[in-house]
Subunit: 200 residues, 2 copies
């Protein structure tokens, strides 16, 4: 970045820290920003700042929320409050909500158990989940962590912990992706799809 | 974006206005920003804001500069001041500078002549170029607009305008890209490469 204007190289530098944005795209974005109307650029800078400062975590489920308020889903009386869907992070809540397939409430773990990254059960929101099971009338826990090694291990751990409490614990189904070609599905996915087959 | 937090959807919306960033990547970037340390997010927002406000145009060449000062290249006494490289926009100056192949000064047109977009010679910095030719001792004008239709038309127009003034006018060479496969070069590029062939 030698020879570039300081505010420009500073911007390229900040942009290139975003995921999936290399030095080249950061440069392209920076030049774009320099050429946009002042109002549009101010809006972008403010939106970044405000999102980071105005969004906190829901004290009940751990999802994102405005400030420190209990989030909209937790407050929604029309949603079933006896089914909790346990996910890794707020992004997964958003994905579930997009599908429209779930009408219960959530519990966000903020991570998975990961020996590789030195994250144990105490480092994610499992204690908070147990507290909710104790305080509220929960009939079913759906474990919707990712179908990868860490997600599986975390689901397994929670299942073992909770089953003795007499709560029904389920795991989301694994199988071939809807709309995908069977031909390109990997071996593990295919064997899971076979294991989970249902009578028609 | 129904059901999303207002500051989050506002951020996704602002991010998705950036070139090459669709709704999905904007979402991914927004969630990333929510999870970064406060200092890093503040730095990004400020860098965007400051770059847009602290960078202006050099009154001489039209390239980006700090505030409204004459830019570093125009002020650099070690650069040849009798050769001007005419480019479309500041990005092209940056590209030229990266190559390290040019040691003269620049003139940024801020656009090309484009009948399609209703941009005539009066809408780009041609008048300012003529003024520099009048005031300064310029021996050569290198036309380095893009090798596309508009870039060619603009180069042609400027060449016709300036040649009568007795200034040497050149055009950057067009040919096969260094390191590229001849096999994949398009027809026009190949014919230009042949036309421009040199004795070895």
């Amino acid at each position: 970045m030698a020879g570039y204007l300081e505010p420009l190289s500073r911007l390229v530098n900040a942009l290139s820290k975003l995921p999936g944005i290399g030095q080249r795209s950061a440069m392209r974005l920076a030049y774009h920003i320099l050429q946009r109307p002042e109002g549009e650029v101010r809006e972008l800078a403010e939106a970044i700042y405000k999102a980071r400062w105005d969004i906190g975590y829901c004290p009940v489920c751990g999802d994102y929320t405005a400030g420190d308020d209990v989030c909209g889903i937790c407050r929604d009386a029309r949603r079933e409050s006896d089914v909790l869907c346990v996910v890794r992070d707020p992004r997964d809540v958003a994905a579930m909500e997009r599908s429209g397939a779930f009408r219960g409430k959530y519990h966000v773990l903020h991570g998975t158990i990961s020996p590789n990254e030195n994250r144990g059960p105490g480092d994610i929101r499992i204690k908070e989940l147990l507290k909710r099971l104790q305080d509220d009338d929960i009939g079913e826990i759906i474990l919707a962590t990712n179908p990868d090694l860490e997600g599986e291990a975390t689901a397994m751990y929670i299942a073992r912990l909770i089953k003795p409490l007499g709560v029904k614990v389920t795991r989301i189904a694994q199988g071939v992706q809807v709309g995908a070609d069977l031909e390109y599905a990997d071996d593990v996915t295919l064997s899971r799809a076979l294991e989970g087959r249902r009578e028609m």
